[in-house]
Symmetry: C2
Subunit: 220 residues, 2 copies
DNA sequence: ACAATAAGTTAGATTAGCCTAACAATAAAA
DNA sequence: TTTTATTGTTAGGCTAATCTAACTTATTGT
């Protein structure tokens, strides 16, 4: 088993892969906030231990073993987040940091029980899919709210960032997963939109926000 | 804040102090399973950082700050154990190892919520007191089952060891906290006892086991 | 095609936490 | 009171994970 540190590297590679971003040393360096030489050195070690494949100046690839470990960490992270929200009643904005620690807990018993108590959830509190024990995730086919045309409605299904500030912002606006949002108007100048949802009308959302809201179009 | 490693040293010193054992480098070394020179070196560092007081060839003492940190770790450990048993339904024999990891989680929110969900428990699943936020513990005044005379009864209140094998043994014997045990007979030769409890009669317990069962005498 | 920029590499160093081997001090036993 | 056993100390070394400074290779824009 790799150390917690190595688990974090594998997880970071896995996430970049999940988002279709290119996996360079510098991308990794930014993601885990560590100097490039450090990443360079660590990736070599991960390679020696069979978790990744890396050649000078080429992108980093997870081996099957590496992907298995990484998906297991991600699974534990997302199960933990779900547990913290559903069973313990914490807010979706406060669970990520705690899950960063919980994901490294090494106990099948603990996570099996969480999985069972939550009735085998497929998504975490931010709508992100939870990998199963074999690392498989249900594919999600959402589009960004920015892609929805005026007059159309869409249901919020997931977020593509889980920064505390963003989640607190959504709380303040009373937007949650499942909220049906109607695009009333689009301002061409700054690409902001006017939306309506639940009892709220004429709410303005910037493009930055819309980009991060992953929705499913409503066909009426 | 000290590192997880340092937290473990402080916790070990705290536990030895709690059991009234003398706190030497070699005792610590055995407790945390690390060489004596390593402990020696670490204790010096803990001293520099103000967590302990140590002079060559003298016993180690926690500073107020050190005791505060240590009791907080112990609090988190025991709260975690209680949560794993009471809320998650794990057995008292499987929670210690998981709690060894959970105790280092750094989230007031997480542990406050656990404390709240458990309705502010005073004892962990093994009957050991949980320090409050100020490090205070309710004093327990139990005696070992070995000290109970034939004909007398006593209620099991706590254990002074929580090795998995011991707890599994107690499960097999159907002995739990709260079980009222009557001493029927004492064998002088090997100090084993014959006891009765619930529907069970003529159960033989060795002195080794009785020593570890902390009870409260029943006055009838 | 070439200069500028971005990305990756190498070397050398540091800190935390651990070890063993050899030695010194204290406490316990004879 | 010596001897023996326990306990503590010092010295020297190791690995994991990090850093900065200086340099090299690749990519990009003109
Ligand atoms: Mn998260
Ligand atoms: Mn999440
Ligand atoms: Mn425990
Ligand atoms: Mn316990």
């Amino acid at each position: 088993m790799p150390s917690d540190t190595k688990e974090n590297y594998l997880k970071a590679i896995y996430s970049l892969e999940e988002n279709g971003e290119k996996i360079s040393l510098s991308a990794l360096s930014k993601r885990i906030d560590v100097s490039i030489p450090t990443v360079n050195n660590m990736v070599k070690r991960l390679q020696e231990e069979g978790w990744v494949i890396y050649e000078k100046y080429k992108p980093i690839i997870l081996t099957d073993e590496g992907r298995k470990v990484a998906s297991h960490i991600v699974r534990k992270h997302r199960l933990a987040e779900m547990f913290l929200v559903e069973t313990m009643g914490l807010g979706w904005e406060e669970v990520h940091d705690i899950a960063e620690d919980l994901e490294h807990i090494n106990s099948e018993t603990f996570f099996n029980r969480i999985d069972e108590m939550l009735d085998y959830p497929k998504f975490d509190p931010h709508g992100t899919p939870i990998p199963d024990k074999n690392g498989k995730t249900v594919s999600q086919n959402y589009e960004s709210l920015s892609a929805i045309e005026p007059g159309q409605s869409a249901v919020l299904r997931a977020l593509d960032h889980e920064q505390k500030e963003f989640l607190v912002f959504l709380n303040k606006k009373n937007i949650a997963l499942g909220t049906e949002i109607k695009i009333e108007e689009k301002e061409p100048f700054d690409e902001s939109v006017v939306v309506a949802y639940d009892q709220f009308k004429n709410v303005v959302l910037t493009k930055d926000v819309c980009d991060k809201l992953l929705v499913e179009k409503v066909h009426k």
